[in-house]
Amino acid sequence: MLEPFAYDFFVRGFIVAGLVGALCGLMGVYVVLRRMSYIGHGLSHAMLGGAVVSYVMSFNFYLGAGLWGFLSALLINATVQRRRMLGADAVIGVVTTASFAVGVALISRYRTFTRNFEAALLGEVLGIQPQDLLAVAAMTGLALLFVLLCYRRLLFMTFDPEVAAYYGVRVHWLDALFALALAGTIVVSMQVIGVTMLVAALVIPAATARLLTDSFHRLVLLSVAIGALAGMGGMYISYYLDISSGANVVLVTTAAFALAYAWSALRHRLAAIQGLRALD
C-alpha cells in the first residue's frame, strides 16, 4: 500500500496534488458562488499564452504566466464595465481565446516548446521539481493569508458586491486582489492538473461542498478538504491504474460530486416524506 511512497517523485507529486487540490478548493468557493466558472476556464487558457511568451523570452514562468493572467483578468473586468452591452461571457471569450491563440502561434513558431506545451495542457504532476513544490506551497500560503485577512469582506462582496460597497468594502481593490490570487492559483496548478482540466479542480470541490451544507464557513472548510483529498486520492490511484494524474484527480472529484448529489437527493426525499407524514 505504501509502495508508491518509496519514490521521491511520487511523494513530491502527492504533496503537490494535495496542496493544489486544497488551493483550488479554497479559491473555487468564490469562483462558484460568484458564478465565475467561465472566467476560471478562460483564464487557465489565457495563461498558456503567458507561459509560452515567458518561455520564448526566457522569463520566469510563474511571474510571466501569473502576470499575463492577472492582466487578462483586469482587461476583462475593465472591458465589461466600459462596454456593458457586450456581456461578460463575450469579453472573456475574446480576451482569453486571443491570449491562447498567441500561445499556440508562438508554439508553432518555436517548435522546441511542444513537450512543455503538452505538460501545460494535460498536466504532468510526476515531473514536478522541488522548486515547483515550493511555488505551490508559497501560493497556497499566500492565498490562505489573503482569504483569512479579507474573509469577511470577501464573503460580503461575494454575496452582494453592490451593497458591500455601500457598507465600506473597497470592492474594486478586493476584486483586483482576488483576480491576482486566482491568476496565481491557476499558474501554479497548470503543471499539475493541466489547463484543460483546471476549471474542474476549481469548480467541482466547491460545487460538491455546496450540495452538503448551507453554511458559508462549513462550505469553505469542506471544499478545501474535498479538493485536498481528491488531489491526493487521485494521485495515489493513478499510480496503480497508470493513467494521467490530472485526469484521475478530476475523476475522483467528480465521483465525490456524484456521491454528494445522491446524498442530497436522498436527504430531500426523506425530508419530503417526513413533511407528508407530519401533515397526516
Binding site: 485577512l149 460580503f156 458591500a164 455601500y166 457598507y167 465600506g168
Partner: protein, 282 residues
C-alpha cells in the same frame, strides 16, 4: 396613522442636502435638478412610478451614482469625501436566496469593513444578538436565509443595517411583496426606530398603505414634483403629474386616500357599452 404630525427638524444643518443635483448612470441622467433637505429625525417616503429615480435618490446619498451637476451633502460633506455612515437595506428581489449564509452571518456582514480578523469580535456578536433580539429574529440566527418568511428576511437585512448604529437608514421598497400583517409590522418597527432617533428614508410604490402614513413624502418623476406631508402633497394635480395618469384623491376620517381612475381602455369600454346597455334595457 403612524405619524399624525411631521417631526420638527433637529440640528442646525440638514443631515442630507441635495443641491440642484442632476445624476444618473453611464451618461444618462435619471434625477434632474433635484433640491431637497432631510433633517435629523425625519421619516421620509419617496414616491413615484418605476424609473422615477427613487432608488437613484438613495444611491445619490450613498455616492454611488454619476453626478453631472450639483452635489449631495451628507452631514455637511460632499459625497466624494468618504462614504456616509448610512445603513442600507436593498430590495429583497435583488438578494441571491440560494447563497449559503445564515441569518447571523448576514447580520454580521454589517461589520465586514472593520478590522482584518476573519471572525467577529465578542462585542460584534453581542451587538448582532441584541439587534436580532429587538427585531424578533434572534431564534432564527442559525437558519439559512431562504428558510425565512418575507417579513423575517426583511428584518434580517434591517438588522444588518442597524448593527453599526447608523444615524441614517435607507430602505429600498421594504414592504414590497409582503402580506398586509408583515407590512404593518415593518412599518411599526421603522416607526419605533425613527422615534429612537434614526433618520429614515424609504422608497415605496404603496401610496395608501405606506406613503400616506409617513410624515413627509417626496413625489419624484425625474424631478421633485412635490415635497411635504401627505395631506398637502396628495392632490389630484400632484399625483397626476407624478404618475402621468389621472388620479382621484379622497379624504376620509382624517386619512388621505389616492384612487387610480379606471384605465383609459376601461373608460372607453364603459363609454361604449353604456348606451347599448341603456338601449337594451329600454
Amino acid at each position: 396613522m403612524l405619524h399624525p404630525y411631521p417631526h420638527e427638524p433637529r440640528g442646525e444643518a440638514p443631515l442630507v442636502e441635495f443641491r440642484q443635483v442632476t445624476c444618473g448612470y453611464s451618461g444618462t441622467p435619471v434625477l434632474l435638478d433635484v433640491s431637497a433637505s432631510i433633517w435629523e429625525g425625519e421619516f421620509v417616503g419617496l414616491l413615484g412610478p418605476s424609473g422615477a429615480g427613487k432608488t437613484t435618490f438613495l444611491r445619490a446619498i450613498l455616492g454611488a451614482v454619476e453626478f453631472y451637476r450639483g452635489q449631495v451633502l451628507v452631514e455637511g460633506r460632499p459625497h466624494d469625501r468618504g462614504r456616509p455612515l448610512a445603513g442600507y437595506v436593498p430590495q429583497v428581489e435583488t438578494v441571491d436566496w440560494n447563497f449559503p449564509v445564515t441569518v447571523e452571518q448576514v447580520v454580521l456582514m454589517g461589520f465586514a469593513s472593520r478590522g482584518w480578523r476573519p471572525w467577529p469580535t465578542r462585542e460584534e456578536r453581542q451587538r448582532a444578538s441584541a439587534v436580532m433580539e429587538r427585531l424578533g429574529i434572534a431564534h432564527l440566527a442559525n437558519r439559512h436565509i431562504r428558510a425565512l418568511s418575507g417579513g423575517q428576511q426583511q428584518r434580517a437585512f434591517l438588522a444588518r443595517a442597524l448593527v453599526s448604529s447608523p444615524r441614517l437608514l435607507l430602505l429600498d421598497e421594504p414592504t414590497a411583496g409582503v402580506d398586509i400583517k408583515t407590512r404593518d409590522d415593518i412599518l411599526h418597527l421603522l416607526h419605533e426606530l425613527n422615534h429612537d432617533g434614526t433618520t429614515i428614508v424609504l422608497t415605496t410604490h404603496e401610496i395608501n398603505a405606506v406613503a400616506a402614513h409617513l410624515p413627509r413624502v417626496i413625489c419624484l418623476n425625474g424631478r421633485v414634483v412635490a415635497d411635504g406631508p401627505p395631506a398637502q402633497v396628495f392632490t389630484p394635480e400632484v399625483m397626476s403629474q407624478t404618475y402621468g395618469a389621472p388620479m382621484t384623491v379622497v379624504h376620509h376620517e382624517g386619512l388621505v386616500l389616492v384612487a387610480e381612475r379606471p384605465h383609459r381602455y376601461y373608460e372607453e369600454h364603459l363609454a361604449r357599452s353604456r348606451p347599448r346597455q341603456e338601449g337594451g334595457g329600454a
